[in-house]
Amino acid sequence: MTGRWRWIPSLAWRESRTARRRLLLYMSSISLGVGALVAIDSIADNVSAAVRLQSRSVMGGDVSFTSDTRYPDSLKAVLDSLARTGPTMATVVTFTSMAYAPRTQITRLAQVRAVGPTYPPYGAVTSEPANLWGELQKRPTALVSPSTLISLDANVGDTLSIGFSQFIIIGTTNSVPGDPGLASAIGPRVFIAEQYVASTQLLGFGSRASFETLVRLPDGVQSPQWVEPIRARFRAANIRVRTVVQQEENMTEAIGRLADFLGIVGMIALLLGGIGVASGVNAFMNRKIDTVAVLRCLGATGSQVLAIYVTQAALMGLAGAAIGAAIGVAIQFALPVALEGTLPLDVTVQIVPKAIGVGLAIGVWVALVFSLRPLLALRRVSPLQALRRDAEALEHQRRRDIPSHLVNIALVASVVVLAISRTDNWRRGILVALGIGVSLLLLWGSAALLSHLARRLVAQRLPYLLRQGVANLYRPANQTRSVILALGFGAFLVSTLYLVQANLLRQFEVSAQAARGNLVFFDVQDDQRVAIDSIVQATGEQAVSATPLVTMKLKSINGQTLDVWGAAHALPRRNWAFNREYRSTYRDTVVVTEQITAGKWFGGSGTDTLSEMSLEQGLATDLAVSLGDTLTWDVQGVPVAARLTSLREVNWGRFEPNFFAVFQSKALSTAPKMFVLVAAISTDTVIARIQRNVVLRFPNASSVDLSLLRATVLEIIGRITLAVRFLALFSLAMAVPVLFSAVAATRRDRLREGVLLKTLGATRAQIGRILLAEYALLGMLGAFTGMLLSFAGAWALVTFVFDGQFAPALLPAFLIAGVMMTLAVAIGMATGREVFRETPMAALRDN
């Protein structure tokens, strides 16, 4: 190291002796942000590694063929011949059905998985008692998920009725490849052997089931290459083909998106920490002006002075980032415990050196670049300050101060680069960076406005203590901007999280609570409707509605085949709207979950031979159809044409039956149909009785107690709420050191002013009231500006990212603003406590 720099690191370390704790406190502003990034990146890496290792187990095979109907014989033959060449094939039929426990007389809707003898081709099913999976194939037995036993209040050994068949429950499943634990919380699972499906008599006309074949390929055979020659044939028969490579890509992509989203939160937390660092280092710098002046007298150049204090900032930044990395690793190890059972994978928690390294590097960089702005001013400390206290401490800054401009550019570039790296998309990254920049500018502006208004509006007639507190907002070297920036940004972050959560979950709550009925029967055959209605009425209750369901597929549009129509309108042939099986209904009135957005409801605008129909507006767009077009449907072999006369907006979140296509009654009233019945039942006991009586008489008819479903949905909502609250508390915790740093900047001036006031006769209570006035105003403006910004931020997220309707949740937003304001006052009063301790003599001695 050349001569003049040889001793700088050692001098920097020695000179920092009494300042290390304080500097570390300022640098701890970035610790939580670094912790968040390290935790997110480490967990994402662990989960991705688990995906790579276990994707076969998650999917259940190398290749999956899935259809809503039984395979055509020709394709079955294809699979059979392929099985003879080496791959292992395993089949599973999945359908929903009422599961009834005769001993307890409780019935619940369950997902039944009827498995073939070679299922699963990968992984193993663990059960309690152990090794029972093979027993399923030997006799009519069932393994159930633990939640099924609980919901039926049944025991191992009890009989379970599925349709017209009975099974003995021989145990519970602990883990099943391809079946995440969380899913069984939503829909209880029952596993039986595929050979006994026919005996249940449930897979008849109109019933919905999924027929899946899983393939395990021999070692060395790659799934994309194996499936390619046959993919087109299966797709043509509407059989979905998936490979494990696609599965892995989808899961990794999903994990990546979640990590990106959380990474943005972590990045914003880190930037907020950077603001805290800048404020704190500014305070630190003010304390060092005398020392720097002496160093300048003794021969230190501006660069040497800067190097000494940048070295200190870098070391403490490294310490702060290291603390943050440790926090991140702790979260990484704790989170899988909290998420146990919700992930479809066994995640091995391992230290990820790359995530820690990146977190440390980003943390140190942020600490440095935010420290440099205030530290650069040290170059301009005049050596005259050592001689005369009243000399200008800082020499006038030249306009062309290139290092300052470079640091400003580095700051902006850092924010943009960080945003792009966390979003993995340069456009989105720039938008995020712009959003942050605009928020900071608005906060800065509101701080300037407050200073301006405080100066203009403070009037002599105000009590002195209030006037003094207000005057502190605009006096030279005030802390208004830094406190409002720190407080406002913190409030913005916390409030935005809450508002987005509240808006997203509001949709579910409204949907869950708005349903007119609380017991739904579906898969009800035409000839069963009256009888089920009677069962309901026998309990003294009423069925609310009976909605017919007719299954159909789209055949042609305006006389053109779908291929021709699709080509003419540049629609892909694999368009979901062309290929799906629709369950449509017919009626002559609009229902409460719909709104007509174009055209007119059925009212005789059709011709005598052509009926009318209404489409959901999104479907109309996907089909490229407009009012007046004629759509022809294949209703179980019979073509039915209808003219499109209206478009609807449908609230899919409601629990009532909703439909893409609704026909005039005369179009479908004679078509083969099933029914969905909705009843409003007064008590849980009556619901259970009705469900039991229906399943005993009509095992094919399934029913859902909406209150139970609602409870499950609300339980999931509760988990999400908990996660969001954790994030919000995390952000709040981070605001504390940031606020401390912001307030510390004017500590010296505050102390001097306070002891001077005491010398002039002010009591501690009076000084306290001055501090309270100042911090209450700062807290109020910062918190409420942040709150207003959060409305804008949450609106943008809910509208453009989540495609929802934004409604400002005022009470939580005001509560958060109140908490932030209280925090500002508390921290302000805490840092002002020195004023209460110091004697007036301190002020005189100091001067």
Partner: protein, 236 residues
């Protein structure tokens, strides 16, 4: 050694300017012990700042060892100070986070010199603080702090040493000892010493007195004190 030529320093004041120093000129040869005296507001500290290169004059020049200070940048003046100038302040101005030994080392470390700790130890022993090297300024008395400051001022073997009210914060006995120390170092090292003071008794101990009033030199005379010793390098 030090030449001030038509030095003028003005500050903006209200609608006009305030001249704190007006056309001050003098020469100080190497090895002198000079006192600059005057009442408060006479411009003593301003003059000291200009002579030491801590500030730039509004007009006029200061030459230190033939180098015109106003032609140098701030960093060049800082380097020059590190090479040739020592400082003693009224308020000692020791760096509070460094020990006595470390404070004395600072000028040498800023120059990148090897052997800084050894030289610092020698200087502290010379000023009688060999047993207080590891003490922090807050653990030293005023007189001890000023002696550390003196050791620091001589650590880079300065050509010229500026002392701003070196006894201003000390009691009479301690102050006298500090002055004796300065005198002995001046004689032994051959460094020029310029003391700014309002203490006339101290001023009379210098070989020359320059008196300021309202920014003008109103008196420039030698005193009856021992004439200054010509430059030598006995205590470097």
């Amino acid at each position: 050694m030090l030449v001030a030529s038509n030095l003028q320093k003005e500050y903006p004041s209200g609608a006009g300017t305030l001249a704190v120093l007006k056309q001050v000129s003098f020469t100080i040869p190497q090895g002198s012990l000079v006192a600059i005296v005057g009442p408060s507001g006479s411009g003593k500290t301003t003059l000291l700042g200009l002579l030491a290169g801590l500030d730039v004059p509004s007009s006029g020049t200061v030459s230190l060892d033939g180098v015109e200070l106003n032609r140098l940048t701030e960093d060049e003046r800082a380097r020059l100070r590190g090479e040739k100038v020592g400082f003693i302040f009224q308020t000692f101005q020791l760096i509070p986070t460094l020990t006595a030994l470390e404070n004395v080392q600072v000028p040498l470390e800023l120059r990148g010199d090897f052997g800084a700790p050894e030289r610092a130890k020698m200087l502290l022993e010379h000023v009688g603080l060999g047993d207080r090297m590891d003490h922090f300024p807050t653990q030293l008395s005023g007189g001890e702090q000023q002696r550390v400051a003196i050791a620091r001022a001589f650590s880079n073997s300065p050509k010229i040493l500026f002392a701003d009210e070196p006894t201003g914060n000390l009691d009479g006995v301690t102050g006298a000892k500090i002055v004796e120390l300065l005198e002995s170092l001046n004689k032994s090292s051959g460094s020029t010493v310029v003391i700014v003071t309002h203490d006339l008794t101290l001023a009379e101990r210098a070989g020359r007195i320059i008196r300021l009033r309202d920014g003008d030199v109103v008196e420039d005379r030698t005193t009856s004190a021992t004439p200054p010793v010509p430059a030598s390098s006995t205590a470097r």
